[in-house]
């Protein structure tokens, strides 16, 4: 009975608050990440030499350095040069850039997999380069990139827990606080684990549906 009361009055509201913060972290980061991913991916495939080199360097750095290190740099490191970001902003910034770098890999792969003939046909009709990229290539590429990008979003949901390490208290952070106070680590973290499982499963389901919706007859088979 005491347990139940504890859950009602302390655990539930705290986890709810944490969950809400997690959502606030995940949604903007996912959106920014995809936008950055598309921009960087397009630049890496269609940009001029220096642009491509810069974009590739960006991706190499943000995929090569652990997310934890990146978060620490934004939150603990920037003050060194006088920039003070809130834990939340630092977290969203870190997630967006890191996620964006990964998304760009999938977008780039998808862009490169589009048959060259599509470009030739667009050019022969008089499309400008920009029109070609946005009207012909990207609509096809995004469908090809969807599984990879969808996967990346699921990773983001999980990695949002790292915000705790730069003092942004989201679901995991709330759990740690609760558990430290009550010593009920196993129960609380099992609950938190369950929350994340629900989040990732719902996201996976949604993404699967999206893939179905966007499917085009005969398009899934990658023709080289």
């Amino acid at each position: 009975m005491e347990e139940w009361l504890y859950i009602q009055t302390e655990v539930y509201p705290a986890l709810l608050k944490g969950f809400w913060v997690s959502l606030q972290l995940i949604l903007p980061s996912a959106l920014c990440g995809i936008v950055i991913g598309i921009m960087v991916g397009v630049l890496r495939v269609y940009g001029s030499r220096p642009v491509t080199a810069a974009a590739n360097a960006f991706v190499a750095v943000f995929r090569g350095i652990p997310l934890v290190v990146q978060l620490f740099i934004w939150y603990f490191g920037l003050p060194y040069i006088g920039i003070y970001l809130s834990p939340f902003i630092a977290a969203v910034l870190g997630f967006s850039l890191c996620s964006g770098a990964y998304h760009s890999e999938y977008i780039r792969g998808a862009l490169l997999s589009i048959k060259r003939g599509q470009m030739l046909a667009a050019q022969s009709l008089g499309f400008t380069k920009v029109q070609m990229i946005f009207s012909i290539i990207l609509p096809q590429a995004i469908r090809r990139a969807l599984p990879g990008c969808g996967n990346e979003i699921i990773y983001l949901i999980k990695y949002s827990s790292l915000a705790y390490m730069i003092t942004c208290i989201e679901l995991t952070g709330e759990g740690k606080i609760l558990a430290s106070n009550s010593f009920k680590y196993t129960e609380i973290f099992l609950m938190i684990g369950a929350c994340y499982l629900v989040m990732t499963s719902v996201a996976a389901l949604f993404l699967g549906r999206l893939e179905e919706r966007l499917r085009l007859p005969g398009f899934e088979h990658q023709r080289i």
Partner: protein, 251 residues
Amino acid sequence: MAAPILRIENISKRYGKKDVLKGASLEVNKGDLKILIGPSGAGKSTLLQCINFLVKPDEGRVWLDEQEVHYAHKRDLYAYRQKVGMIFQDFNLFDHLNALENVRIGMVKVKGMAKAEANDRAVMELERVGLGDHMQKYPAQLSGGQKQRVSIARALAMDPKVMLLDEPTSALDPELIGEVHAVIRDLGNNGMTMIMATHQIGFASSLASEIVFMEDGRILERGTPDKIFNHAENTRTREFCSKITELYGER
């Protein structure tokens, strides 16, 4: 004598060490149907792709209606490409769009037409090539012959002055070739200026105003079908034509 609608002069293209095109020149009058023939690797495809600058020639100049086209002036280049339609061997329909949308997209995005107007025109073009019943189908759901006809409708919707056809039936199963040939013949009868590279000699000779024989990147001989097939001046031309007659049996 009206000025030629399309003129190309001295087009050359090198890939690495190989000279794929060596100074090809051509004059095309309105309503002409010029057929490029020759062995594989002769440069027919490359020449066609140089005409609309899908491949950038190393040397040479191109005039449409007496206006020179400069590759570097992008806006002029795009405008020029609208006036020169191209049909590819591999069709190259946009995979994410159905037939109607494929024909429509050029009008909407490149010519800036209103969607409704473009739609009506697209329907008209598809019916013209005999595909009125297949407008909602996606490329993956169409046969090769149907795909090629959609690509012709797509090119025609741009109101081109000249059509370039790069071996339009080479990727088709034999029984599907006829339907595409019928559409091309129809275009020719309606006065469309066309340059076509093909191996289909029988079809070519019945339609062509001039046959152009290419080998090794050069135009070796040109003339009426009768001249090329029966009284060719160049030995290479005669050799090629006799081999072709053996292969295809018809002339």
